[in-house]
Subunit: 158 residues, 2 copies
DNA sequence: GCTATATAGATCACACTATGAACGAGATGA
DNA sequence: TCATCTCGTTCATAGTGTGATCTATATAGC
């Protein structure tokens, strides 16, 4: 077994390097996609992300959006004002609390958000359709495993 | 087979949604890592990325860096001046062409870049070590397959 | 050698993402 | 009612990125 050791280490290092490369390529591809969406819909990516939140909830507050997007409240004020200017969103006063503003989609915003979500789904479906059914299962299992490992390491290091 | 159809479609849609979710989580995790590195080393992420290029080549030009990072030359001027201020990089005139500046790491920059690369490798290794050897192979195969499919769809759409 | 053109890098204006401190207005508990 | 808390806004600051423009150098053709 002793003479296997260096070989095993080499193989592991090779795997780690390959892993690093592949992750970089996949993430790069995702970033390209984000930029493409932003350009295609003529909406900055932060605003796109914000729009997508309204698929879960009809009304959102600045604070709620900040939490969901994981950004500062001041950032949300800016993002929402961008969406307001584009007429994709309205902002009304909460009748039960004068401090909070309830933000919701306009009809136009609803249409836009559906269009975006549908293209996004279609794109993900296309990627899976590139694969054979067993490959799809394998990729999903692997992604699940990968996510778990990444979260675990993140937890331990940060 | 007819009665299988709706079931199959449902399953595929379920897979696509799961895929979308997992990808978002994985990419999010990578972004957190980038921010963590930037904070830990006290260097903006674009400058970190630039530093890493010198592991391949000892001397780089502004144009070369722009191509490798896939950004405009003007961005590179800014990034390099940041690294210059931090003393991680030097800029000398190319003796064979008065227009070009040759950028290379200082001793300090070399040390920093090695430190960063080594932490990055260690982190990727830790993620793989969370898995069993067969899982590692599976994940790498899946990532390879995924990257290919993503590139293929990107090619077709953009 | 001289001129037109191409190229390298710097500078500038602009746009987007993001944070944190400070602030005004409204809520709320003692 | 007064201190305190919370909500959303504004502002200064920092980072990422583009494209137009400019200067200086290089080079190909005359």
């Amino acid at each position: 077994m002793n003479e296997m050791r260096p070989f095993k280490d080499d193989f592991f290092r090779y795997q780690a390097r390959r892993f690093q490369e592949l992750m970089a390529e996949v993430v790069q591809c995702c970033e390209t996609r984000t930029a493409y969406f932003s350009e295609k819909f003529g909406i900055p990516s932060a605003e796109l992300r914000c729009l997508m939140l309204f698929r879960e909830e009809k009304y959102l507050t600045v604070k709620g959006i900040a939490q969901k997007l994981d950004v500062a409240k001041s950032r949300v004020t800016k993002i929402v004002s961008g969406l307001l200017e584009k007429g994709l969103v309205t902002r009304i006063d909460d009748p039960s609390d004068g401090r909070v503003k309830l933000i919701s989609l306009t009809r136009e915003g609803r249409a836009k958000s559906e269009e975006i979500a549908s293209l996004s789904s279609r794109m993900h479906e296309m990627i899976l359709l590139e694969m054979e059914p067993e490959e799809r299962k394998m990729v999903l299992t692997a992604l699940e495993r990968l996510r778990t490992s990444m979260e675990a390491v993140k937890e331990r290091m940060m």
